[in-house]
């Protein structure tokens, strides 16, 4: 403290002597270091008062009493600053806790991309923050059917993560990859509507592929429309669906549709993070994705996913604003 007083006195009397900008600059840097050492504002006033008294021995009483008053009122700013230190420590604890939670969540939702004989599957899912609010669920437990669910929770953070656990749990208990997509959505919708907060919704696109007939059956609940590329006509079709988001109406009904996947065809499933770029109205993201997919259709499904991600990232200056998920099923 004695050292601090001496240094402060030096800087202060230099400044009073010549009012140089450099002494104010030095003074501010000095105070920044003091703040890091938990010196409080009332202590600074006290140091200031003492320094002035030592330099000028004829200070009026009114001025000195004024400093006493200042010390008294500054105590409450000092308390605020200390409260901030405590809150910072608490915040740090929370940060560490969230890191562990993220790790667990990622393990909980981990899912291997299936490698069936007759189709090629690729996936990329990049979270915006630490926890991913998108989730891809694969099922391929018998030889005939393979199912993929691409989901996006409306909402962020821990509630979204817990909600996602619930979706995974629901999908797992449905057990069979051969369930009808519309049936899967109806069951999931009831579970979510019943048990999750009113402000929490899930969009989901469910696709079941029959490896023996090459029929792809799909259904969607308020999800970004998938893209179907027909190799024969060399054109894209939106797989649109009017299904409500999961979790809104308990008795919502979902329809499903079939399509024949021929050699050279592929389907792109994605979340809205791939197409939503609020600040870039000039881009038509879906068109860009079509162009990218078309230009790279000779690559594997996985490589196509990665090209789409890296190109869109570049186009948007690496400022993605949502979780980003693309799944490609390629015949």
């Amino acid at each position: 403290m004695e050292q601090i007083r001496k240094q402060y006195k030096k800087i202060l009397s230099d400044y009073i002597g010549n009012q140089n900008e450099s002494d104010l600059y030095i003074g501010q840097n000095f105070i920044k270091r003091m703040i890091q050492k938990n010196v409080t504002p009332e202590e600074v006033i006290s140091i200031h008062k003492q320094a002035l008294e030592e330099v000028y021995d004829d200070l009026p009483d009114s001025v000195l009493h004024g400093y006493d008053f200042l010390i008294e009122v500054m105590v409450h700013f000092g308390l605020k600053v200390q409260e901030h230190q405590s809150l910072l420590a608490k915040q740090e604890e929370l940060r560490i806790e969230m890191e562990i939670a993220t790790k667990i969540q990622n393990l909980l939702l981990e899912n291997e991309i299936p490698k069936p004989r007759s189709v090629d599957i690729g996936m990329i899912s990049v979270p915006l923050r630490k926890m991913n609010g998108d989730y891809v669920h694969f099922m391929h437990d018998d030889e005939r059917f393979l199912s993929v669910a691409v989901t996006d929770v409306v909402g962020k953070g821990v509630p979204a993560a817990l909600c996602m656990s619930m979706v995974k749990y629901g999908l797992d208990t449905l057990e069979y990859a051969n369930s009808n997509p519309s049936y899967v959505l109806e069951v999931l919708n009831r579970t979510i509507e019943k048990s999750i907060d009113d402000s929490m919704f899930v969009s989901l696109c469910y696709v079941r592929y029959d490896l023996s007939t090459n029929v792809l059956t799909w259904s969607s609940a308020g999800h970004e429309p998938s893209l179907y590329y027909d190799g024969e006509s060399e054109s894209f079709y939106d797989l649109e669906s009017k299904g409500l988001l999961l979790g809104i109406l308990p008795e919502a009904k979902y329809t499903q549709q079939d399509l024949d996947l021929k050699n050279g065809d592929f389907v792109i499933l994605m979340t809205d993070g791939v197409t939503d770029f609020r600040n870039k109205e000039e881009f038509d993201s879906r068109e860009i994705i079509k162009e990218l997919a078309l230009a790279n259709r000779h690559l594997t499904a996985q490589e196509m996913c990665e090209v789409i991600y890296s190109e869109l990232q570049k186009l948007h200056d690496f400022k993605l604003e949502d979780d980003f998920t693309v799944v490609i099923i390629k015949k």
């Binding site: 010390i71 409450h76 308390l79």
Partner: protein, 134 residues
């Protein structure tokens, strides 16, 4: 060592009396200007709490000495409702509606705080600040 000084807290004026006694005592013991202000602020917060939650009570101010260390002890004693969860009142209330100060502030202003409270029987809070901070 001088004997303990007691201030009955019944009106806001008593808060000022307790603060004044505490400030004089702190000065006497040898606390510097900043610590005098902090001790006085703590006394003020304790006394205000008495008025707010128990309507009446007293503040006891005394010099203490332990292992050759001098200090000031302030006790706040009331026969009010008492508190169910003494841990909670010491935790910062970070909600936006917080009035600030209160016991978390008192805790920061002193070196030691002890609370004894029984529901329906009252609360005793004792704080100590050492002349050389421990």
């Amino acid at each position: 060592m001088r004997e303990a000084r007691v201030v009955e807290i019944v009106t806001e004026l008593d808060i000022v009396t307790a603060r004044k006694l505490g400030r004089d005592e702190a000065k006497e013991i040898g606390f510097n200007d900043v610590d005098q202000s902090r001790i006085t602020t703590a006394i003020g917060e304790l006394a205000k709490n008495i008025l707010l939650y128990a309507h009446a009570g007293k503040i006891v101010i005394e010099e203490v000495e332990e292992n050759g260390l001098k200090g000031i002890a302030i006790s706040s004693i009331d026969k009010g409702q008492g508190m169910k969860d003494v841990h909670k009142v010491l935790e910062d209330d970070y909600s936006s509606t917080s009035a600030g100060a209160g016991l978390p502030a008192v805790k920061r202003l002193v070196d030691l705080i002890e609370i004894e409270s029984r529901v329906g029987q009252g609360t005793t809070i004792k704080v100590v600040k050492w002349l050389v901070r421990v």
